[in-house]
């Protein structure tokens, strides 16, 4: 009987492997025919299952030697707050909610300009072999070190250079990240009274929730969130009424620059106001909405099983894409970013999560499995982007500076690429979702919202497209704004921490002059890049998203350096390939992208070439008198971007070189391979307590 079960189990796993292989072959070899999105779902799910069951379990058992008899920090340091042994599926939900951000939604949407194939393959392979491994190893390492942070581990395992680099990297990434996601929101809300009203309404709703939780029904967070969600839905209907009102619509119709200034002002307010009033209630609400929408989208894709309209590969793999410039290598990988591997996850895996894990083996589903689910979200975003007709996708995502500002010019350009689209089609689509126009809505959010609305609406028999479009926009903007306000606040704390060394009162987080000054500095830093993106004739995403991708992958490189160092200390060179192979790939991608963004002779790709081209036009007097000032600003911005990119590249090289020094020292016997793990203590937890 036992033997029969084992044979059956092996047959089931063989079936999963064959299904995944066939689906991968199907999507990789198909040319010229539309394929169903289920092929992507089966390829992803099958590969994830194989990776989880075999590769991750092998790492857990053989390399990490996870031991359920060993007490975790959650048990040894239990205090009921940070450290608390918790049911593994609750920790899984907590971890996933913490790592899920806008990156895996926006990145694949932008990378769809290469076709569905490159992004899909990297999302699947990158997650299984790199992203999940990074999250898992860092979670394991932190769990064995009393829940230490990535920065602390970098300092202890590699040296002070690694630790300092981690701090600088996080600050720099946050600046670029906040700017680029703010740009995504600005582009989604530009000239959209419906969207702007809905998002504006989330602020009084959050304040109402804050007051409700603080004074009227303290502690009733779920009850309050249900109330907030009902009000959010009401605000979407309210937005429709506003957009249809001749007197109210102009009050909520803004251009990109006005919206950018509003988002900057909002970031400052959210950073300076008490956290319970605006930030915390929005955070609760956005977490629940985020989880709900992810589940809804998965159910919608399985129910509708839409066909992909985008071809497997487009001609833009040669680097001439309208959404962003650059060839498939390295820019498909830089653009996908968080859907395959994200450095930020290492901060979560060495933050709250290791302090809640009750049994060491729980790190397997939480660390590795959590990232697999994040990767699946990226696959769903890819599906949502690719269900749109390619002509519509490019009309929405291509900046006016590339395809032309007039609708007729834009459709002519896009149709000439072999992706037919008409002004009538775009007008009907815009009217169907309650927007004045959908041309040049760069940033990824509007096209993702269109795809999601298409799937949600089709699930209900093709009704309420405009409601679902604005529901999707509300969902994207809600949690992007949550990251903006929380990120500005964190940046303010980091800055105050640094300023406190110069003048002690500046380090006090409750001293209002310090709060205001440091909030202004942080807001000014990301606000500068945001305004630069708004003014960019190529739409801003072309320069800012690659910068963000490079920065994010830099943090992942740091995490993989720490992980490799720990594996080298544990086993010598034997298993270092597990994290070193993804690291080598990541370094080649990041450094190639940085080199091309700085030094490419093509003006729409290289920052310096762009600056030089503009400077030459200025020197030759080919710039109209009224455009001289803005052109000088563009030149300065391009050079600034080149410097920022160079700083990222130098940081990558410094971290990698310092890590190689340590590995060579350990393997050559010059550095003692000491372990900073906490000693073994037997667990006293019994199964009932979990």
């Amino acid at each position: 009987m036992l033997n029969f079960k084992r044979i059956l189990l092996r047959l089931v796993w063989a079936g999963v492997a064959v299904a995944a292989a066939l689906a991968l072959a199907g999507i990789a070899l198909n040319r010229g025919e539309r394929i169903n999105s289920l092929w992507l779902v089966v390829a992803a799910a099958g590969t994830y299952l194989i990776g989880y069951r075999f590769y991750a379990k092998w790492i857990a058992a053989r390399v990490m030697a996870l031991d359920d008899r060993r007490a975790t920090p959650a048990e040894r340091l239990r205090n009921g707050h940070d450290f608390e042994p918790t049911n593994k599926w609750i920790v899984f939900g907590h971890h996933f909610a913490a790592i899920a951000g806008p990156g895996p939604l926006v990145g694949p949407t932008l990378a769809a300009q290469f076709g569905y194939l490159p992004g899909t393959l990297w999302i699947i392979a990158g997650a299984v072999l790199a992203g999940c491994v990074q999250d898992f190893v860092i979670l394991f390492a932190s769990m064995r070190r009393d829940g230490k942070s990535l920065g602390q581990m970098a300092r202890e395992e590699i040296g002070p250079i690694g630790g300092a680099t981690a701090l600088v990297t996080v600050l720099l990434i946050m600046t670029i990240l906040l700017a680029v996601i703010a740009l995504v929101v600005v582009n989604a809300l530009r000239d959209s009274p419906w969207g702007t009203f809905t998002i504006a309404a989330t602020m009084p709703i959050a304040v109402l929730m804050g007051l409700y939780l603080r004074y009227w029904r303290p502690g009733r967070v779920l009850e309050c969130s249900v109330l907030g969600f009902v009000l959010l839905l009401a605000s979407i209907f309210g937005g429709q009424a506003v957009s249809e009102s001749a007197s109210l619509a102009p009050l909520f119709t803004f251009g990109a620059m006005s919206l950018a200034l509003m988002v900057i002002a909002y970031g400052f307010l959210a950073s300076a106001l008490p956290v319970w009033l605006l930030l915390a209630p929005r955070d609760y609400l956005s977490t629940f909405v985020k989880l709900g929408v992810v589940l809804l989208l998965a159910a919608g894709i399985l129910w509708v099983r839409p066909s992909l309209e985008m071809p497997a590969l487009t001609q833009f793999i040669d680097g001439t894409g309208p959404v962003f410039k650059g060839k498939i290598f390295p820019f498909a990988f830089i653009t996908i970013a968080c859907g395959a591997i994200s450095g930020f996850h290492a901060l979560i895996s060495s933050g709250t999560t290791p302090k809640m894990i009750a049994r060491e083996w729980h790190a397997w589903p939480i660390g590795y499995g959590g990232m697999l689910l994040e990767s699946f979200v990226a696959i769903m975003a890819m599906v949502a982007a690719c269900v749109l007709a390619p002509g519509v996708y490019f009309a929405v995502n291509a900046p006016a500076g590339v395809v032309g500002a007039a609708p007729a010019a834009a459709v002519a350009t896009i149709s000439s690429w072999g992706f037919p689209v008409s002004t009538e089609e775009m007008a009907a689509l815009a009217s169907g979702v309650g927007e004045a126009t959908l041309f040049a809505r760069t940033g990824g959010a509007p096209s993702l919202a269109l795809g999601m609305a298409h799937i949600f609406s089709a699930s209900l028999g093709g009704v309420a497209l405009s409601f679902w479009y604005h529901f999707a926009i509300m969902f994207e903007a809600l949690f992007i704004l949550t990251i903006i306000d929380a990120g500005t606040r964190v940046g303010r704390f980091m800055l105050q921490d640094l300023l406190g060394h110069l003048y002690a009162p500046l380090g006090r987080t409750s001293w209002m002059p310090s709060v205001i000054v440091s909030s202004l500095v942080i807001v000014a830093a990301w606000g500068y890049f945001l305004i630069q993106g708004v003014r960019d004739p190529l739409g801003g995403i072309n320069s800012l998203w690659p910068l963000f991708g490079i920065a994010n992958q830099l943090l992942a490189a740091l995490a993989l350096c720490v992980a490799t160092t720990i594996l080298v200390r544990m086993h010598g060179a034997r298993y270092m390939w597990i994290t070193c192979a993804p690291l080598v790939w990541l370094l080649s991608v990041t450094l190639t992208a940085a080199w091309q963004k700085i030094f490419s002779p093509l003006a729409d790709l290289g920052f310096l070439a762009q600056a030089n081209q503009l400077q030459a036009a200025l020197d030759a007097g080919r710039v109209a008198a009224g455009r001289v000032g803005p052109t000088e600003t563009l030149i300065f911005n391009a050079r600034l971007d080149a410097v920022v990119c160079a700083v990222f590249a130098v940081l990558v090289v410094v971290i990698a070189a310092d890590s190689v020094r340590v590995w060579a020292g350990i393997l050559g016997g010059r550095i003692r391979p000491t372990m900073s793990e906490t000693p073994f203590v037997a667990t006293a937890l019994n199964a009932e307590e979990l």
């Binding site: 009921g80 707050h81 608390e84 049911n87 907590h94 939780l213 502690g219 930030l279 901060l347 606040r489």
Partner: protein, 69 residues
């Protein structure tokens, strides 16, 4: 008991457990479970003042960490 009834009871049990787990995840994400633990560990009773004290402390540490992208 018929096979259909047994299957129905099994599905009902699994659904209830899944629902309870989903609710527990939501309560963890909403800090309600953490608050209940706080009350139990400190031996205090729920009050508006106690919630504010707990919430202030919890939010201070939560919003000192960067959110994921």
């Amino acid at each position: 008991m018929t096979a259909a009834r047994r299957a129905y009871q099994h599905v009902w049990r699994v659904s209830r457990r899944a629902g309870a787990l989903a609710m527990a995840v939501l309560r963890e994400l909403s800090d309600e479970r953490a608050y209940a633990r706080h009350l139990a560990i400190c031996g205090r009773l729920h009050s508006a003042e106690e919630w504010r004290r707990f919430s202030d402390e919890r939010l201070r540490s939560r919003f000192a960490r960067a959110k994921c992208c």
